[in-house]
Symmetry: C2
Subunit: 341 residues, 2 copies
DNA sequence: CTGAAAGCGCTTACAG
DNA sequence: CTGAAAGCGCTTACAG
C-alpha cells in the first residue's frame, strides 16, 4: 500500500504542507504535530518519494561512481572507502564500469547526468584520450572528482598517489639491493599513472648513474598475470640479462615470477622483483612479493571527502575550489627482493 | 547551461509535448520534426531529467544492489555480472554494503525504496535473522531477488548454488583421496550457505560409513585467513588427529595451510585441504588450493536476468512468478589434495 | 503554529 | 501530425 503526503494529510486532518514540514523537522511546526505525523507515518510504512522531492530541492543526494573495472582488489577497496563515507553522510551511490572503453565511459557520464547526481567520482578508462564528457559534467554544474586514473588538464578535484615518487622508490629499492640491470614492465602509454611510474624508474636510474636502456622496458597493456608471464619470456628469450625487475602491477609481477620459476631462476638472488599495489595474492605466493602499498580504501574515502567539501563550498559560498591530493605510498618489503647481500 | 523541454520547445516553435514525443520516438511525430528536435538537443547538450519523467512513468529503470561487503573477490565478480547486464539493458545501478549488519541492511532497503527503485537484488548479512524489511520490499510492489545469502522462507526470486551438493562433493573428494578423519571448518550458524555446506559434509560422511565427530567441526564466523589459522591451531593443540579438512572459504583454508606449514605438516600427504570459492590466491599459494568454483559472474548475471523476467511479467501480465535457480558448482583439483595414493 | 497555492520537468490521454 | 491541459508527489515562500 503506497501512500503519499496527501493521503497522510487527509487521514490526519492536516495539510500536505504541514505533513512535509513535520517530517523534515521544520522549526515552525509544534512538537505535538510532529509526533503524531511521525508515528502515523511509521505505522503505515510511508516511504518518501525522493524523485518528487528533488524536483523542488534540486538535490538528489546521489553520487555517480565510475570504475574502469570492478573485479580488481584495488578498485574494490576504493569502492569500499567511497561507500563507507557515502552511507555515513546519507548519500546514495550509483555505480557503473567503463570496461576500459571511453565510449562506455561517456555513456555512463551522460546517464548519470540525466539522473541528476550531485557529483561524479571517476577513474578513467585506459584509452580515454579526449575529455569533452568531463567538461560536460562541470558545465552541468555537477561536481567532478577524479581518482587514480586522472587527467591532469581537466579542471576538477583529483586524488591520486604520487606515482613518480612511488616508481622512484620501487626502483631505488632494487638498486639498494645491488641490482644494476633493472628492467621495467610498464603500463600502457596513455594513463598518467604508468607514465609517472616509468618516469620515477628513470629518475632513480639516473640518480644512481645507471644507464637507461630502452630494451629493458616492455609494455603491459592490461596489467595481467598472463602478460607478465609473456613479457618475462620475451625478455628472457631476447637474451637481455637482468638482475632486477619493477612491474607496473602485482599481477604482472606474479606472471613474471611464474615464468622465472619455471626457468629455475632464483628469485630474489638472481633476479629481484617488485610489484605495485600490495594485493593479497602477493603475500601468499612463493617467494612472497615486495610491492608498493597504495592505500586504496583511503583513496576512496578522500575522493568522497573532496566531493563533500566542494559541495559545501558550492552551497555556502556559491563557488568551487578544486583540490589535488597526492596520497603517500609505502614500500612493503617481502621475499622477492630479500637478496643475500 | 541547463535546458528543459520547455526551453527547447520555445526555441523550436513547438510544444513541450511535441518535443517529448519526438525524443521518445512516438510514432505520431513526423520524421522531419524528430530530426530537427534531436539535432538541436544534441547541439545544446540537453540532458533529460529522469526524476521528473519518473513522476509520470512510475519507472526509474533503477535497481538497488546490496552486498554484505564489497572487498571480496566473490562479491566483486557478482557485481560485475549484475553491472554488465544492467548496462546492457539500460538500467541504473544503486549500490550499498551492509557490512554484515542487519540494521544497516534495513536502512539501505528503506533508502532504496525511497529512491523508488524498480527492484532490489541483495545478499543478506550474516546476522540477518528477521525479514520484515524484505516483506517491505515486496509490499511496496518492488521486485526482490536474493542471491548467494538467501532466506528460504521469503517469497521472492532467488539464485544461489546448491551448497549442500557442493559440500557433499568437496567432502567426497577428500574421502576418495583416502581421507577418513575429516574435519570441517564451517561458517557461522545463521547463513543458509554454511548450514547447507555442513549438511553436505555430513551426508558424504554418512554415505561412506564414516562416523560423524562433532569435535572435528569448528566454526569460523568471518571466514578470514586469520580465523583459519587460529582454528587449525586450536584443532592441532586439542590433539585431535585429522587427515582431511574441508573449509567453508578459501581464506579459511589459506589460514589453515599457513599454520600446518609452520608445523612442518605435509600437505597433501598428511592432511588434504579443500577450500571454497576458487579465489585467485588459491592458485598461487604453495601448495595450490583445491576448491569449489562458484561461478560468481554468472550468479550476478542470473540475478539480473531474474529481475528482468519478473519485471516483464509484471508489466505484461500484471502478476509475479518467483523463480529459484540453483547454479552448478565445479570441483577444481589442485595440489592441496593431490595425495600420493 | 497551520494552510492554500504555485511550480519543479516531465508524459500522456484527449482534442483537433 | 501537433498542441493545450492535467497531474505525478513533493517543497517553500507567503498569508493568516
Amino acid at each position: 500500500m503506497k501512500s503519499s503526503l496527501k493521503q497522510i494529510a487527509k487521514a490526519l486532518n492536516l495539510s500536505t504542507a504541514g505533513v512535509s514540514k513535520a517530517l523534515n523537522d521544520y522549526p515552525d511546526i509544534s512538537l505535538a504535530t510532529k509526533k503524531i505525523v511521525k508515528s502515523y507515518v511509521k505505522k503505515v510504512g510511508y516511504k518518501a518519494n525522493n524523485q518528487a522531492a528533488y524536483l523542488r530541492t534540486r538535490k538528489t543526494r546521489t553520487i555517480g561512481v565510475i570504475f574502469p573495472e570492478v573485479t580488481n582488489h584495488f578498485f574494490s577497496e576504493i569502492l569500499e572507502g567511497i561507500m563507507d563515507q557515502a552511507q555515513k553522510n546519507n548519500y546514495t551511490l550509483i555505480i557503473g564500469h567503463s570496461k576500459e572503453s571511453m565510449d562506455e565511459e561517456k555513456r555512463l557520464v551522460n546517464q548519470f547526468l540525466q539522473q541528476k547526481v550531485d557529483g561524479i567520482l571517476m577513474s578513467l578508462a585506459q584509452n580515454t584520450s579526449e575529455f569533452s564528457h568531463l567538461e560536460d559534467v562541470v558545465s552541468n554544474e555537477t561536481i567532478l572528482v577524479l581518482f587514480d586514473k586522472i587527467a591532469r588538464t581537466v579542471n576538477c578535484s583529483k586524488v591520486s598517489i604520487d606515482d613518480k615518487k612511488a616508481g622512484f622508490n620501487a626502483t631505488e629499492h632494487l638498486i639498494k639491493k645491488g641490482c644494476s640491470k633493472i628492467a621495467h614492465f610498464r603500463g600502457d602509454l596513455n594513463p598518467q599513472n604508468s607514465i609517472d611510474r616509468y618516469l620515477g624508474y628513470r629518475e632513480a636510474l639516473s640518480l644512481h648513474n645507471i644507464n637507461y636502456d630502452a630494451n629493458k622496458v616492455l609494455i603491459s597493456r592490461k596489467g595481467s598475470v598472463k602478460e607478465g608471464y609473456l613479457l618475462a619470456k620475451k625478455l628472457y628469450e631476447s637474451g637481455i640479462k637482468i638482475d632486477g625487475l619493477f612491474c607496473v602491477t602485482d599481477m604482472v609481477a606474479l606472471g613474471a615470477i611464474r615464468f622465472f620459476k619455471e626457468q629455475k631462476i632464483d628469485i630474489p638472488n638472481e633476479i629481484c622483483i617488485i610489484g605495485f599495489s600490495k594485493t593479497m595474492v602477493g603475500s601468499f605466493v612463493n617467494p612472497s612479493l615486495t610491492s608498493i602499498d597504495q592505500k586504496a580504501i583511503k583513496m576512496g574515502k578522500m575522493a568522497m571527502k573532496l566531493f563533500i567539501s566542494e559541495e559545501k563550498m558550492l552551497r555556502t559560498e556559491n563557488r568551487l575550489e578544486n583540490q589535488y591530493l597526492e596520497l603517500k605510498t609505502k614500500l612493503i618489503k617481502r621475499e622477492s627482493t630479500d637478496k643475500i647481500l
